[in-house]
Symmetry: D2
Subunit: 351 residues, 4 copies
């Protein structure tokens, strides 16, 4: 059932939003005249340069249109068919991609790990890596971490580096699912380089769709030489759009004039306000610290009932089945946050 | 190298063009407010109804963003991993998708067939189908035909029915690659139903991108019950866009007010003029009859040289390696056609 | 390094043993004259009848030569590429087949579950099954249990039925890894029918190699109609031997005159003696109850040292990394058991 | 229907035969005591040394049990998932393996080529290789030739070298399907090294089963370093037998005392006699020159009828659908050849 434009989509996800004006303007502007197809256009060429600048190193960039494709394709570039991919048990690649990583890697095996606040840690990774050289075991190949994580938490740069060090010591390649990369970056105030390749990341799935793009993600190789066969992997996965200029143009606008970070900061600020407001209420417990644009809370039944009565969607089936998730985005209105808080609180004197 | 906006992209392909105004307007209009994600939006719901009307039967519709994904996913719904898919040796699925059908079907085998004018025929199909029940052979499973074909030719409705009858008699399912479906339909003046399910087609890859959309294709099941597991196949292939409304909105605009057929008729008319003009010149031989929006010609060296000197791209490496291809589109200017013809003819008195 | 024929292979596994005489005699006897290839021979035809008799229902039988192939192929017959397979986290299919299930299913996802004594239980399964109908999640499809389990424990028939009931209620198909099927059967004293299809099992990987065969496993479908496409799956997996008579002949001999159960009872008896003997010593703790032909014990360092000094292999890296595993087989000599016990105990008075 | 031990299996294939005595004796001899499993046994270690001696270079050897697995696994070591494998259109990998190469390579595309006498030639290969670097095309990766070919013909060493030179020039790896390697070698009188790596072959599927083994094939890497990941590919394909000694022991016996070449020479001689005898009759036309142990003939209806009346199997559906195939083997009796010739000729005076 379509719930478009209604209140119920508020806070449901950051993919129910429209594209931000700068991105939409860029799409319209790109729609003029002919352009070489399949990524041989000027928008795509500029995008690679722009990202090389942002990451302070020459990168190879492959735009695609879904986060699932971005993650699964990135993993397929790093992992042999007989490989193991270590990730958090609540990682999007493990729970929400319907087996795309398995398809695109030719059958690699995801090894779900536990870890507090939907993050893995170096010690946990070290003890999970097993079986190298044992012909009966899928072979340790790849680590995938999500920044910001599926729990809305963020790895500190030093934490990434520590995990990556363990991974490297065991010969693993390192993938970062950056569906909410900008949100994490805004939280840390780190440089894109520090949060990725300088900390050990090999390939980044750089997200745009959740933070203001219409449908635009980019797979970023920090070692362009490692991308040698990747154009063929992307093509055979059906992700080489003929009119690629329209994807690259989105990302170009997204990365221009600080749009991406401005959008992310706004979403983060709205989440911080929402989180603080909820946490101050009786009957609300934060499931994880709020460090980006997702708020996970455990709610008393009465609060759930009040929120639903007020028309809010309370999707308590997310992640571990108990916490409700509220997501803010680039265009979340402060008033909507306040209305949700008020609805949760109930009428004055109502306790 | 980017050749955007220059003359060289003229006639190179129908995917170097911009989106038509009606489609772009629809994208902009859809960019307002929140909408349920992953296809649970009102544009997607309406699109399914619209296509059911156009095809005069209830259909199940799955929008995706590339023709390669559309074809490979459709085939994966029809073909077991141990199946054979019969197609023309120059079929897009066989030559231009970098193995996507093999990936998405889990390793099915394409059986390339020869046939005049890049079309297969019933007799050829009947003799090619072999091995049913023989455990050593991949099993005959699926027929795929392209309408309009990769040679710019069009199957008559009766020809489709005849081929499909052979296919059915051998237990095959039937897929139609309709990347240029509208162009073929405009040529035949047939009804969409007659050209598809009434002639025996099970699943259609309905194209929009080459005829005015930005990036929009739809996989159409004429038996919705056969699509039971298909949502999962699409998702794991990375083709379930979160902001699906923007794909469905394109197709909705494309199918409204006759936009799709108007675009196709224009492209076809331009191709007909180009074809007739070229065929009347010395040193030009039509490789195939021109029946949609693609013109294939064998050209004398001198003509190729003149065209290149005039800035036209002559991509003689298409298809069988000898014919040059010129493609018209929804926005081909009559003047551009005349300029190409003039360039091919050379200065008056120059023979 | 080859350790053949030396003491160190004793108790290391039940696959270090030779084939039992009855099986070897049958191979030699089958090696006379021509025989139709690829399973169209008389041994294979008889085997299917024999197993139909043993299981008290008409079964479809597909001999293969490794347990890995047997499991992975059976799963591929039950699970779509977008499916989830529930199993114990220490299941052979999850830990010791280097991704074969992922390969043969086209990328299905194994969902590792915890459970005491390397068995899963109905409650655990019920809570683990999630995501049906959610397009983002791989779909619950198959349950796989191992009988006897990888911990040497055995499911009671009622336990299988209880787990299977949960599985059925959620629409799952049920696979049994019976690499040590005979050992479990001997323990329970149940009928083969009761332990399988009457309890809900759809497809059984029936093991022979570990209990006296040279290389012979059989995939058994309790609903022959469900095996319709399976001959092609087996062939394309490279498991359709041309001289299949030699595999079928092994299984025929194995199932004749009670060889299989006699072998299993002997192995179980040796394991019981070994288990009791070890458990009675100081510094030894059984990791799991000994219910078939595998003994898992946690050993004090001094005992490990004594065993190694006596030439025994102590493979403490099995399963959960702490328990040592000792496996008995059809030809384990009682004296060897006593020698191991003596070595573990050390010289009299040595504590 | 089982036709075992009857006349009808004569000449039907070289896989309807028993194992030769030397091989069977070796199996029986290996069945003594324990041995390390999964190929860590002394038979397997010796086999690698033996084959290194035979090929005059250090090789890496991986025994498996079917030709289909041997071919498909070898190809999977040489070909990326987006690769093209060039082969003759009647190659076993293309027609008789039910898609195993596609499965094991993760979806690589076989490019069937035509060529006289079921052999490809250097010119044909050179013109077939297309699309390198074009992202839309599966990428030229591997050449596979069959020695002796599926038509019973044999490539001269110089022909292999010429084809391989073209392949190398285009960056292809080279696989040889040697299901009947010994037969070809016996025909040419060449050295194993000359017929393989010295002519450019990278990986050989070395056959044993058709020439006296029970079920034994070996994948031979002429560059052991190229086999780095191969143990995992073999394991996950279900081809790592636990009691591998029994496969290696077969090949060891097969390669000892000239058994393999003696068997092959006998089969070849029987085929030569059969071929000459048939060719001298009216109404018989050789489809291909007889150069190994397979005779392909086109037969008048009357001759087919006489052969069938005499109880011989005439499998005219082999290969190109018109030629009948008669296969000799290590134990073909000269009398059987004469009986077939007599049956084909009919009673004296009967023309």
């Amino acid at each position: 059932m379509d719930q478009s434009n209604s209140q119920s989509t508020l806070f449901r996800s950051d993919n129910v939003t429209a594209a931000c004006p700068e991105v939409m303007d860029a799409i319209v502007a790109a729609n003029s005249g002919g352009a070489a197809s399949y990524g041989a256009d000027r928008w795509s060429a500029r995008l690679e340069k722009t990202l090389s600048g942002i990451f302070e190193t020459e990168v190879a960039v492959f735009p695609v249109v879904t986060g699932t494709a971005s993650n699964a394709l990135a993993l397929s570039a790093l992992t042999p068919s007989f490989g193991k991919i270590y990730c958090h048990e609540l990682a999007h690649i493990n729970t929400d991609e319907c087996g795309a990583p398995e398809l695109f890697t030719g059958g690699a095996k995801l090894i779900p790990m536990r870890g507090a606040h939907v993050r893995i840690d170096a010690e946990g990774l070290a003890s999970a890596i097993q079986g190298r050289g044992n012909v009966h075991h899928a072979q340790p190949s790849t680590l995938s971490i999500t920044q910001a994580s599926e729990g809305g938490t963020v790895y500190a740069v030093a934490e990434i580096a520590a995990i990556a060090e363990v991974a490297r010591a065991h010969g693993l390649k390192i993938h970062m699912d950056g569906a909410r990369f900008a949100n994490a970056l805004a939280t840390l105030g780190a440089s894109p380089a520090d949060m990725t390749w300088k900390a050990g990341v090999d390939v980044l799935s750089f997200g745009g769709t959740k933070n203001g793009c219409l449908a635009a993600e980019a797979i970023v190789f920090f070692d362009p030489a490692a991308a040698e066969g990747f154009p063929f992997l992307r093509k055979r996965a059906g992700q080489l759009l003929s009119k690629m200029r329209f994807v690259s143009a989105q990302l170009e606008a997204y990365l221009s004039d600080g749009v991406w970070l401005r959008n992310a900061r706004h979403a983060n600020a709205m989440a911080a306000r929402l989180s603080a407001g909820l946490a101050s209420q009786e009957g609300v417990e934060l499931a994880y610290p709020t460090q980006s644009n997702e708020v996970f809370v455990r709610l008393e039944e009465a609060i759930v009932a009040r929120l639903k009565a007020a028309g809010f969607d309370v999707n308590g089936d997310e992640l571990d089945g108990s916490a409700a998730r509220f997501v803010t985005s680039w265009n979340t209105a402060p008033d909507d946050v306040e209305r949700l808080l008020a609805a949760a609180a109930g009428p004055p004197g109502d306790t």
